[in-house]
């Protein structure tokens, strides 16, 4: 993964800090060359930062029922004559601050998307390693399942898994359960791409000398796969993770928008858009448009970063 010459020669260079080495790398160079990528990185950073510190940044607490007042309901953003600085982006019917709801909602969207992608990567990498290393029947069974799943769009799979899990656990569910149902639905809908990529590179690595050596000194299959093969096949996976992050956030938002995701008591960006959509016709456009724009900005920025990462790490384009 490392692009600096120091690691290639293997000599320790104590005089150069990690920061200096990073500044010399190809990746950093291509990063500073593209201003669109730098803007995307800045937007992503600001959004993730404000989601993490939502408690500190948010001007109001949208979940504290004691501080909500119906008298504050339906206030427009600050630039219109009826707006107030107290609620920069206005309020919804219950008097909840739209900006604060967005900050907390984005936090939930990011957490669900991140956990879903991690789960998908863990499932996909494990199955891909096993499939590529063992070959034979195991390989063809796993790959046929992957083929069948690839025939269907991920959103349909996620909806089905969500529906099935609802049926299994019953409709009276707690918020925590809904949260994990969403994570598992996203994880199970996106594993195929990881499995295929990892399987391909594992089949190449399997016949290399270091694997044979590891086998000769009697290491177990699990150790060989995860300690020795995994570090050599993980590179391309990182790019897929970035691009899938945007897809996972869209999937979560879509499920929540369709009403099978997170409930209004713990709203993600998708839930906020669903609630706000009901007020679109009464003229309170800000309740739905601002969460929508935030979602669009987040997804667009992550997509741009993923595109850049794919090109920067692709040796053919150098």
């Amino acid at each position: 993964m490392s692009d600096s010459p120091a690691s290639a020669t293997g000599k320790p260079e104590p005089s150069r800090s990690m920061l200096a080495r990073m500044r010399d790398s190809d990746i950093w160079h291509s990063f500073t060359r593209s201003w669109i990528t730098m803007i995307a990185a800045l937007v992503t950073f600001i959004l993730i930062f404000s989601a993490i510190f939502a408690h500190q940044i948010a001007p109001n607490d949208p979940f504290n029922l004691a501080s909500l007042s119906l008298l504050d309901g339906g206030k427009p953003p600050f630039w219109s004559p009826d707006g107030e600085w107290r609620f920069p982006l206005g309020t919804d019917q219950q008097g909840r601050c739209v900006l604060s709801s967005i900050l907390f909602g984005m936090r939930i969207s990011l957490i669900v998307g991140f956990l879903g992608v991690v789960l998908a990567a863990v499932i996909g990498i494990t199955l891909g390693l096993v499939s590529g290393y063992l070959g034979g029947t195991v390989d063809s069974v796993i790959m046929r399942i992957a083929d069948v799943q690839l025939t269907f769009p991920a959103i349909l799979i996620a909806l089905l898994i969500d529906g099935t899990m609802r049926a299994l656990v019953g409709t009276a569910r707690s918020e925590v359960l809904v949260f994990w149902v969403l994570v598992v639905s996203i994880g199970l809908s996106f594993w195929v791409q990881y499995a295929r990529t990892v399987r391909g590179s594992t089949m190449v690595e399997r016949n290399k000398e270091y694997v044979q050596a590891a086998r000769l000194i009697g290491l177990g299959r699990v150790t060989i796969l995860f300690r020795h093969v995994l570090p050599n096949v993980i590179g391309p996976v990182l790019v897929i993770i970035t691009i899938n992050m945007a897809l996972a956030i869209i999937t979560e938002a879509t499920l929540s928008f369709l009403g099978v995701g997170l409930p209004p008591t713990e709203p993600s960006l998708g839930t906020l858009i669903r609630i706000g959509n009901e007020f679109l016709f009464s003229g309170e456009w800000w309740v739905v448009i601002f969460p929508g724009l935030t979602l669009a900005a987040l997804v667009l920025a992550i997509n741009l970063l993923g595109d850049w990462l794919r090109d920067a790490l692709n040796p053919k384009l150098r």
Binding site: G163, T254, L258, I273, V288, L300
Partner: protein, 325 residues
């Protein structure tokens, strides 16, 4: 060629059986099918009788065979919620989804191809750059957000187009259509743009890159050298060759159009199969869920099969590589 066709059909049947097994397991093991047909006063004997009548005491293999047999005759049981045969419910809503899917595919093709051709012919013009930016936004925006934005602009702000429902429907007996009235077409515009926008950007990007590639080939250069008009070179020679992958992709995308119709139908309250499926997921109406799953899977597999076979017909390399595998 015959071996290739037979093997592809065999694979398709295998996929369908797998999906049938999944929807059968949904139907059979997720929740008790008798639960919805009985009340608290039902005696134990009556319950057992119902189980026996439904064939739930038979071995699972026989039940699965019966499930597949019934599905082949479009018998998917009775909806838990509406107490009506699932086949009838789906049949009522099938035309709405199909017309929406058709209109979006037409929109995607007739907007995407000209935009792609233009962007491929003049990649540095400002309009081509606008197209590229629009396509990036079209890929990044979730479908439901596009729908909401369109409603906000065209229905709420300007009041030009209806924002929900399927209006002006004419009943032809076996099919209901909205194409025959002005009302019906108007209510179709926003949903089909919402549903087709993603496909449109996909087609546009594809046509653009294919055009740019084809324009560099020798036969196009030769056609120019022969003194043919740019019009003849661009449209008769270049465009024709870019259309093969476009047709393939459009065919394959038809499946995902039907799947993404779930979202569009929810935003616009369009009375199609997708909306029904979503309501079934929310109320855990298993017979509708499994029937929809099977139906969509059949459509997907059929489309994939047809596209594959057409492709093999056009490109002999695929047949040969298939033989080696």
């Amino acid at each position: 060629m015959l071996a290739f066709i037979l093997r592809r059909i065999g694979q398709a049947i295998l996929v369908l059986l797998t999906v049938a097994l999944i929807s059968f397991s949904l139907f059979r093991f997720v929740g008790d099918p008798t639960q919805q047909m009985t009340s608290q006063d039902t005696t134990l004997e009556e319950r057992l009788q119902i189980r026996k009548n439904l064939g739930l005491d038979d071995p699972v293999i026989i039940q699965f065979a019966r499930f597949v047999g019934n599905a082949a005759r479009f018998d998917f049981g009775v909806s838990y919620q509406n107490r009506q045969p699932v086949a009838k419910l789906i049949g009522d809503r099938f035309p709405a989804t199909m017309e929406l899917a058709f209109a979006s595919a037409m929109f995607a093709l007739f907007a995407g191809i000209p935009m792609g051709v233009y962007a491929g012919l003049k990649p540095n013009s400002w309009l081509a750059r606008v197209f590229q930016t629009v396509s990036l936004v079209g890929i990044s925006l979730p479908t439901f957000l596009i729908g909401i934005l369109l409603i906000f602009i065209f229905s709420v702000t300007f009041g030009l187009l209806p924002s929900f429902g399927r209006q002006g429907v004419v009943n032809l007996g076996f099919w209901t259509t909205g194409f025959l009235t002005w009302e019906g077409i108007r209510s179709l515009i926003l949903p089909s743009i919402t549903l087709g926008l993603f496909q449109m950007t996909l087609i546009m990007r594809l046509v653009r890159s294919e055009m740019m590639e084809v324009l560099r080939t020798d036969y196009v250069k030769f056609a120019k050298a022969r003194g043919l008009t740019p019009r003849a070179v661009n449209y008769r020679h270049a465009l024709k060759n870019t259309l093969i992958p476009v047709i393939t992709i459009t065919g394959l995308q038809l499946g995902s159009i039907i799947a993404f119709a779930i979202i569009t139908e929810t935003v616009f309250q369009w009375p199609g199969m997708g909306l029904m499926f979503l309501q079934a997921v929310q109320t855990v109406d298993i017979p509708i869920m499994s029937a929809y799953l099977l139906l969509v899977a059949t459509l997907f597999v059929l489309i994939n099969l047809i596209v594959d076979l057409l492709y093999a017909l056009v490109d002999p390399r695929i047949r040969l590589s298939g033989k080696a595998a």
